[in-house]
Point group: C2
Chain length 358, copies 2
């Protein structure tokens, strides 16, 4: 039975395989596996990780921490720099579990320390010259100063260093990922010499998928690998067979003069994230028997998606069928879709579909 409206499917077999492979790698590499749950944001999918002896998890917001706390997770890192305004929420969560979050500046430590009641672990966020967030990895003086502030505080203890090498996402081959990730790990080795007692948490899906040795890192916290997506295929992190989610979108119309097909499936379903392939933007990749570089979602508006097709694919697609499409960025697609269907048709919850506005 074809989907009448855009629907997000999850293949739980692939999910399990992806988790098993990453858990196995972490074990072999002797690093603690603290997976990031921001990609699936689902209690049920989270529970699969327990089968692989995961007990510490990573999330990206207070909201997500509360959601997984409610499902019995009791060792949670909010991998986002501490919000000086969120004292009540930190107290609330930390009163019920072992809570850690990130920090970058002495100022935020002082602000939070004044009014906090509970104890909290703080990872110092380290920027491996990626340029998004964190203390520059080479600035040992600043890092030492923040560590001193943590030691001098009443409520915080140092949890270690947290380092997200997000610039691996610019890679377009395993070799490029390895080069970028290795450069970050080399810098972390220098950091380790200064602070040998502090664990290092390292984690992004490209690095964790490609590397076989995490050098100075003690923990890994990749997230996207649970589903992967087309962006990860382009980066070199996975093969299409390892992508655990796909959209199913009805084919609405065909435009013969331009080999294009209109689907119901737009920016409110896929998100507007894209990859550049051969200079063309792709907002989604139809899952065909024979993958074709000429066939991709070439534009999205709110509800409309246009698939540019190879002549052969165009001929085969029919109005009224539903076409399967790999999302470019599974985290954002899942967040928009608000729930999953298993291949058997059972609905699985996603945080964004269970939150009610207050």
């Amino acid at each position: 039975m074809s989907s009448i409206y855009p629907t997000l499917f999850v293949d739980l077999e692939i999910v399990k395989n992806n988790i098993a492979a990453m858990a196995d790698k972490a074990r072999k590499c002797n690093v603690e596996f603290r997976p990031h749950f921001k990609t699936h944001q689902s209690k049920e999918i989270g529970r699969i990780f327990r089968e692989f002896d995961v007990s510490g998890i990573t999330v990206s917001s207070v909201k997500m921490a509360k959601y997984f706390l409610n499902d019995g997770w009791d060792d949670i890192t909010i991998a986002f720099p501490a919000n000086a305004l969120a004292i009540n929420d930190y107290d609330d969560i930390a009163s019920k579990c072992d809570l850690k979050t990130l920090v970058i500046s002495e100022e935020v430590i002082r602000k939070l320390d004044q009014d906090l009641n509970q104890e909290l672990g703080l990872y110092i966020e380290i920027d491996p010259d990626y340029g998004r967030s964190g203390l520059p990895i080479s600035n040992i003086n600043r890092i030492r100063s923040v560590l001193t502030e943590i030691h001098n505080s009443k409520h915080f203890y140092p949890a270690g260093f947290y380092c997200h090498a997000g610039h691996t996402y610019k890679s377009r081959s395993k070799e490029e990922v390895e080069e970028t990730a290795s450069a970050a790990l080399n810098k972390l080795s220098d950091l380790k010499k200064h602070f040998p007692e502090l664990p290092i948490c390292f984690g992004d899906t490209p690095s964790c998928s490609v590397l076989e040795d995490f050098g100075p890192a003690d923990q890994v916290s990749p997230g996207n690998f649970v589903f992967y997506d087309w962006m990860q295929v382009e980066i070199g992190s996975c093969t299409p067979n390892e992508i655990a989610v796909h959209m199913e979108c009805p084919v609405i119309e065909k435009f013969e003069n331009r080999n294009q097909v209109l689907i119901h499936g737009g920016a409110v379903h896929f998100s507007k994230d894209f990859v550049q392939v051969n200079g063309m933007k792709s907002f989604g990749e139809p899952r065909l028997k024979h993958l074709s570089k000429e066939t991709y979602i070439s534009s999205l508006s709110q509800e409309h998606g246009i698939i540019q097709c190879s002549p052969q694919v165009y001929k085969e697609i029919e109005i009224g069928e539903a076409i399967q499409i790999f999302p470019i960025h599974s985290c954002l697609t899942a967040d928009l879709m608000q729930s999953y269907k298993t291949l058997e048709g059972r609905v699985i919850d996603h945080l964004s579909g269970t939150e009610r506005p207050k």
Copy 2:
């Protein structure tokens, strides 16, 4: 009181002014005002339109049609090409109200006509050389053939022509909007000569904001104007004072060496839509007393936003304050945020926050 987490505010005074101005223009131009509700997707905001004698509305999905039907709207156009699979939903909605939708091909008319029970109006979608969806405006033979198919069907009547000139979004001044919109209206005038009995529905926010005369059009269905956003400012449709929504995002950290500020506010709040200003991508525009071209959201990841600041703005922003930001694309931001707060702090519903996964 500053927002602790990313929050979407709506200024209902500006909303009313925007609706009043567009309703007034439609009256003066002697066209029926059939506003598109895909931007606000809110029953409460929809009700404001009743004060301006609106009775026919436009939506972009079956889901949205049902949502507004439940609030008493009984003349609804789903401005999306008919989905050959959605017969049960069309029957359901059409049994309770006057339902119209779009159509492009004879094939879809035939498929639906077989199994439908209710009567439905069909607008033939016309592509004014925009290239997304619709029959080419110059192909009178194809248009006539589809019209004949409608006349020969058991369940459909011709509602007119629907024409979305989405290429006005490429404009960067009122003059450019006017040029593109006028070209589309000139072509519609030719169409009108062939089919003088059929009403033409025309509508996109740039055209409807800038034009003072809609030529051959009988109806207008703009949507975004209810809020506007920063993209519309760049296009030339509105001034910043006419934008009715803004995000409030907490300032998390400051990075002095690069005049950048980290906010909590990412792709799951704003969407990844952007505008190019002076060759730089902007994902959101801080609402400052003195707007600064040097200050804009320069990157977004899932929960992180980085604001590139002018040196002066950087100095003034403080960790722990909440900064107001105009979204680039208010339709997508509202869809992600799932609800609004009024300036008085009251919560207003959005469809995406009221839908429960089944």
